[in-house]
């Protein structure tokens, strides 16, 4: 098991396309850390640098006290689960899982025992003689996970492992990952663009944007106290209010953060109460299942409101209200 220290990692493709900018990150022993961000933010590049699949340009990666920056990928002993599953098509499930063990100095019976045991843990025992193309996507990803875990890796790397699965399987699979990760107490890095997915299973989350980590914290803290506008928008804060506007309304807030923006979640705004703070006109009304979402044009721009109230229609003039407590102060990003 291992603690990972990433120091001043920079990476660029071609000359002027910088993907990672002086990125540093500590990952604790045995924790599941998610890297959350939109496509193109550099999260996959970072994972590939850690795995060794991509040669490093600048910075260093220390795993369990040793610098692995120059260790080739096949000597790192990291497990990786790929988005495309990447099973070996010409081998049975058993052979796929046993493949990495054959590289270790183990006897044939040890390899056999270990493979069987990992197939049992991942619930794949019945499928061991099948070929990869005979399996469903969920089963294939399970095999991919089993193959990565079989070599008893120091670090487990997950590259958007759930994004090719349908919604139900996705939840099942992420719980499986979480269960195995906790059981084996394995340091794990989970790359994803889905906030729900990573909040559910992560110990900590690093939100990435433009090659930098914008916020590193527990899922709870990121959800309740996003630090920047980017993080807020990424975890579902749809509405932004200038601090200046709040000041004009003589609102009290901590004012310890130097930023110029405040943010509020759509479900924290009420429609049509007596103490209207903002007036607006309904532009869009959407039924979302649990509630309705209204998009309202106001003097602060378009505000999204999630509410149970269904008696407003497009072009209705309505009042919006929200409490000071629901406004969260943001730092100015760069």
């Amino acid at each position: 098991m291992a603690q990972i220290k990433i120091n001043n990692l920079s990476h660029s493709y071609q000359k002027n396309k910088q993907i990672l900018k002086d990125l540093s990150l500590d990952i604790h022993d045995g924790e599941l850390l998610s890297i959350l961000g939109p496509s193109g933010c550099g999260k996959t590049t970072m994972l590939r640098l850690i795995s060794g699949l991509l040669p490093m340009q600048e910075g260093s990666i220390i795993v369990a006290g040793g610098d692995i920056s120059k260790v080739p990928v096949y000597k790192r002993n990291f497990g990786m689960v790929f988005q495309s599953y990447a099973l070996f098509p010409h081998m049975t499930i058993f052979q796929n899982v046993a493949f990495g063990l054959k590289r270790k100095k183990l006897s044939k019976s040890e390899i056999f025992e270990k493979t069987l045991s990992i197939l049992k843990t991942t619930g794949l025992l019945d499928l061991k003689d099948r070929m990869p193309n005979e399996l469903s996507g969920g089963q294939q990803q399970r095999v991919s996970l089993a193959r990565a875990l079989a070599i008893n890796p120091d670090v487990l790397l997950l590259d958007e492992p759930l994004s090719n699965l349908d919604a139900k399987l996705r939840i099942e699979m992420r719980e499986e990952i979480s269960r195995l990760q906790k059981k084996m107490k394995m340091t794990t890095i989970f790359v994803t663009h889905d906030q729900e997915e990573c909040f559910a299973i992560s110990d900590r989350v690093a939100v990435m944007n433009h090659g930098k980590i914008e916020q590193l914290d527990t899922p709870q803290n990121i959800f309740r106290h996003p630090k920047t506008k980017f993080v807020a928008a990424f975890v579902g804060y749809e509405n932004f209010v200038p601090k200046q506007w709040a000041k004009e309304h003589n609102w009290r807030y901590n004012d310890i953060i130097s930023g110029s923006q405040l943010t509020i979640r759509p479900e924290k705004i009420e429609l049509g109460s007596n103490e209207n703070i903002l007036n607006g006109k309904v532009l869009v009304k959407n039924f979302l299942g649990n509630n309705y979402q209204y998009i309202v044009e106001t003097e602060l721009g378009r505000m999204k409101v999630d509410t149970q109230q269904e008696n407003y229609e497009i072009n209705d003039d309505i009042g919006l209200s929200f409490s000071e407590k629901s406004l969260i102060e943001l730092e100015d990003g760069d």
């Binding site: 699949l53 495309s84 070996f88």
Partner: protein
């Protein structure tokens, strides 16, 4: 709509006729009893097949063509497999340029290649005929190998190799344990097509055969200059059978129609 279908089926029928009829004629004449090739035949005999195996030119030519086709195809694979791997997997400056170079023998008239190789390799450098011939056939085979293997490699997910690296295999072992088994079909198909093309080739072979170096297709031409008996039909039938058999193997087991 109906007339279109009728038109295309008529054209299809004519093409089939033009293709099948001469071949059928050759098959029939190879069993004729007359001393010259004639149709229709008056009697039925296997004499010409017997005679074929009495002609040292044909027997040696067949052996030599076989040897050259196998060596040239293997050489083309030995060069082609690493080349295609590099072209499809590495960031290569001027990738298209290299690809075109490898494919260029297919664009230059074969008779020109034959003449040019003869002039440079045999006349100027004094290389032995056999070596020059092998080089010629190797060039002939290379484009087939490059094209078929490129298709095979592009179908192979790169992360499969990465998965093997991750579990402890270096790139060379991964190439043999993961890449090769998964492009096996393309390799077989490339080998068969190369073999057929080398075995049946005349334009390049013509320049580089000689008294000590008999190739089957040129032997047939030589024989025709002096004789016009059904032995030629018989040897043609045998060539047809070999080629058709190989194509059928390629088609049945490798799905050639998908690759070409």
């Amino acid at each position: 709509m109906k007339s279109k279908i009728r038109f295309s089926s008529i054209v299809g029928f004519i093409v089939l006729l033009l293709l099948i009829l001469p071949l059928a004629m050759v098959v029939v004449t190879s069993f004729g009893t007359e001393a010259t090739i004639s149709f229709p035949i008056k009697g039925f005999t296997f004499e010409w097949y017997h005679n074929l195996f009495q002609q040292p030119d044909f027997v040696d030519g067949m052996k030599m063509s076989f040897i050259v086709a196998i060596i040239a195809s293997c050489l083309a694979l030995l060069v082609g497999i690493p080349a295609v791997y590099a072209l499809t997997r590495f960031q290569i400056h001027r990738r298209n340029w290299f690809q075109n170079i490898f494919l260029s023998p297919a664009l230059i008239p074969e008779i020109v290649i034959g003449f040019a190789l003869y002039q440079t390799l045999v006349i100027s450098f004094g290389l032995p005929l056999f070596i020059s011939l092998l080089i010629g056939h190797f060039l002939l085979c290379l484009p087939y190998v490059i094209r078929l293997l490129t298709a095979g490699m592009l179908d192979l997910d790169k992360s499969i190799e990465e998965a093997a690296w991750m579990v402890g295999y270096n790139k060379v072992i991964t190439f043999f344990k993961i890449v090769i088994p998964n492009i096996k079909q393309s390799i077989m198909a490339a080998f068969i097509l190369s073999f057929i093309n080398s075995f049946n080739n005349i334009p390049i072979t013509l320049f580089m055969n000689g008294p000590s170096l008999n190739m089957l297709p040129t032997s047939i031409l030589n024989y025709l200059e002096n004789n016009y008996d059904p032995t030629v039909s018989a040897v043609s039938v045998i060539l047809m059978i070999i080629t058709a058999a190989l194509m059928m193997i390629a088609e049945k087991y490798l799905g050639l129609n998908k690759l070409v």
